[in-house]
């Protein structure tokens, strides 16, 4: 083996080692957001799209869910011996961005440019895009959830009844399934 071959061999080793430390997986976070979506989405069907209860719910559940997510991720990092603060900030950036854009979108309904039902559908579409980008940049397990969210968006437009409930159930199931799959994959590699 020449020296260059030896260097190439070392680089292959380093690459293999680096691939063993993918993004951390915390199934509790998937379950948390499944529960939040399962309670939040059907609210639109239950209390009507223009109800203030929906705003109160998401303005509370969103930030609280975000903080609990941060705490769960930090706790998992300590348990696993791997701290990823920069990655955590990127995650937060994705979802804080979504929340901010969603809030700005509320102006469309407040000014009468969009119906409240349309705004609820728009939030689901924005969430689908956020999950897609997070799947692309941070954790590919979110990619299928983004597709389900996109399907959920279509359901909110075209289903005759229980449109948001159906979307909520589908998203919750998708999140739980991805949470379980991630755990299985991780046990397979550990």
């Amino acid at each position: 083996m020449t020296d260059t071959d030896s260097i190439k061999d070392d680089i292959a080793y380093v690459r293999a080692v680096a691939e063993r430390t993918g993004p951390g997986h915390v199934p509790a976070i998937y379950v948390l957001w499944a529960v939040i979506c399962l309670c939040g989405f059907p609210l639109v069907d239950l209390v009507g799209p223009g109800s203030g209860l929906i705003g109160i719910y998401w303005l509370t559940a969103g930030p609280v869910g975000g903080l609990v997510t941060w705490w769960l991720a930090a706790r998992a990092g300590v348990r696993d011996g791997q701290a990823d603060r920069r990655t955590g900030k990127r995650w937060a950036g994705h979802f804080v961005g979504f929340f901010g854009v969603g809030l700005l979108g509320c102006l469309l309904a407040a000014t009468g440019e969009l119906s409240w039902s349309g705004l609820s559908s728009l939030w689901i579409l924005l969430l689908a895009l956020t999950y897609f980008l997070a799947g692309l940049h941070l954790d590919r397990r979110l990619m299928p959830v983004s597709l389900i969210l996109a399907a959920g968006y279509l359901f909110t437009l075209y289903l005759p009844e229980y449109r948001f409930t159906t979307a909520g159930v589908l998203v919750a199931v998708a999140l739980v399934v991805q949470g379980i799959r991630g755990t299985r994959e991780r046990h397979g590699t550990d």
Partner: protein
């Protein structure tokens, strides 16, 4: 016996001017891992690198003594946990080393 290519020699001289510390693949891997993650514990590094306690400890000590790593000790469930982070010195030397490796590999194909 295999003969070393002249291009290899030139590239290796370039690498020789760099930190010999990173010539060992385990130490290089430690620095690469810590450049990807903010901090890693001894146990996690051991699990990922599949090294023995003694071997990993020696490599980490060398990197620590050269100012490449910062060490922090804490407790979890009453057990001591040693955390390692890449220092700015370690990060800039790793960056230079990787750039030179890439140049060398690129030159010889």
């Amino acid at each position: 016996m295999e003969r070393t290519d002249p291009a290899d020699v030139e590239g290796l001289e370039e690498l020789g001017s760099l930190q010999g510390l990173l010539e060992h693949r385990v130490r290089l891997a430690i620095c690469v891992l810590l450049s990807e993650h903010d901090a890693m514990s001894f146990s996690r590094l051991k699990q990922v690198l599949e090294e023995t306690d003694g071997s990993l400890g020696t490599h980490l000590r060398k990197l620590e003594d050269s100012g490449y790593l910062a060490v922090e000790k804490s407790f979890r469930d009453r057990r001591p946990v040693t955390w390692y982070e890449l220092t700015e010195t370690g990060r800039s030397n790793l960056r230079r080393h990787v750039a030179n490796l890439a140049r060398l590999i690129g030159r010889v194909g």
